[in-house]
Symmetry: C2
Subunit: 180 residues, 2 copies
C-alpha cells in the first residue's frame, strides 16, 4: 500500500467515525453537512445547486435532503424575486442550534496543539484546492479572500455582484469566490 493510500484511508476513516458517532437527533451525516453549509453560506449561495456543488453530489439528491430538512423544521425556503427558478434556503433557530453543536471530532481536534491545528489547516487547504481544481468545482471560500472583494470606506463590496457586504457577510462563503 502506498503512503498516499494510507493517508486517504485515515481521512476517510476519521470522517466516517465522526459521522457515525455524531448523529444529533434525527439527522444523518448528510443532513448535518447540509445544515453546516447553510450556516456558512452567504445569501447568494443557499440554493440546492450550490449545495450540490459543495457536497459533490447531484441536484436530485440534495433536493431530497432539503425536503426532509424542511419537513423536520430545520430550514425554510424562499423563492427568489429576481430569478423565479431559484430557491434560497435558510436555517431556522432549530437548524442554527444544530450548526453550533460541536461533534466528537471537534473536541478531539481542539485538544491538538495550536501548531498541529495550523499545519493541518494549511495542508488540508492545499489538498482541497487541488481536488477542486481537478473537479473543476468552485472553492466556496469566504468573500474576504476573494479577488472580487474590495474594501471601501464604509465597508466592503463585491465587485462581481455589485453589492455592499457587511462585516459578517465578508466571512461567509460564496459559490463565486475565487481566491486572490
Amino acid at each position: 500500500m502506498t503512503p498516499q493510500t494510507h493517508l486517504r484511508e485515515q481521512i476517510a476513516r476519521l470522517a466516517r467515525l465522526d459521522a457515525a458517532t455524531g448523529w444529533v437527533g434525527d439527522l444523518n451525516p448528510t443532513q448535518r453537512a447540509a445544515i453546516s453549509y447553510l450556516a456558512r453560506a452567504n445569501r447568494f449561495s443557499r440554493s440546492p445547486s450550490h449545495l450540490s456543488g459543495y457536497l459533490g453530489t447531484t441536484r436530485g439528491t440534495v433536493s431530497q435532503t432539503l425536503k426532509s430538512l424542511l419537513q423536520k423544521g430545520y430550514v425554510t425556503e424562499q423563492r427568489s424575486e429576481t430569478d423565479k427558478r431559484v430557491i434560497s434556503f435558510e436555517l431556522t433557530d432549530r437548524g442554527q442550534k444544530i450548526a453550533e453543536t460541536p461533534t466528537p471530532l471537534d473536541a478531539v481536534l481542539k485538544e491538538l496543539s495550536d501548531e498541529d491545528q495550523q499545519s493541518l489547516q494549511h495542508i488540508l487547504s492545499r489538498a482541497m484546492r487541488r481536488v477542486l481544481a481537478q473537479n473543476q468545482g468552485p472553492e466556496f471560500g469566504p468573500c474576504r479572500t476573494c479577488v472580487y472583494h474590495s474594501r471601501g470606506e464604509a465597508g466592503s463590496e463585491c465587485s462581481l455582484l455589485s453589492v455592499a457586504l457587511t462585516k459578517q457577510e465578508s466571512d461567509q462563503i460564496c459559490f463565486e469566490q475565487v481566491s486572490a
Copy 2:
C-alpha cells in the same frame, strides 16, 4: 465558527468529494472502504464484526455490504474451522484489483511535499488515536507496532495468539493490535 469546526468540515468534505468522484464500476464508497479494509487486514481480522468495528457501523449493515460484494464477485467467504460462528472474507482477484486502484485523492496527496505528507500522517494519527480512545474501539494498527509482537530468529510472532507471522503478515492490520 470555531477553527476546529472548520477543520472538521475540511476533513469531511475531502472524504465526501473523494467518495463522490471515486466510484469505480458498481461500487459505492462504503463498499470500496470494505474492500480496502479486507486488503489490509490479517486473516484473524476479516470478519463482519471486525469490519464493523473499523468502519464504525453495525454488524447488520456490514453484513448487507458484504452480501452485495459477495454477489458481485469481489469477495469470497469461508467459515472458520475452530469457531463455527466466525466467517472470514477474502478478496478475489477482482477485489484485489479494486483495492490497488488509486482514487483522485490519492493522486492529489501524492503531489504534496514529503514533509507535508509526513506532518499530515502524524497529526491525523494523533487525532485518530484520540477518537478511538473516546469510542473505546480498537486501533487496527499493523502487527509490527503491537505490544504482542515479538521478533524471533526465524521471523516474528504474535505472543497473544501464539502464531508465527510472515514478514508480509507483520505489515497487515489486526483487531487485537495495541500500540507499543
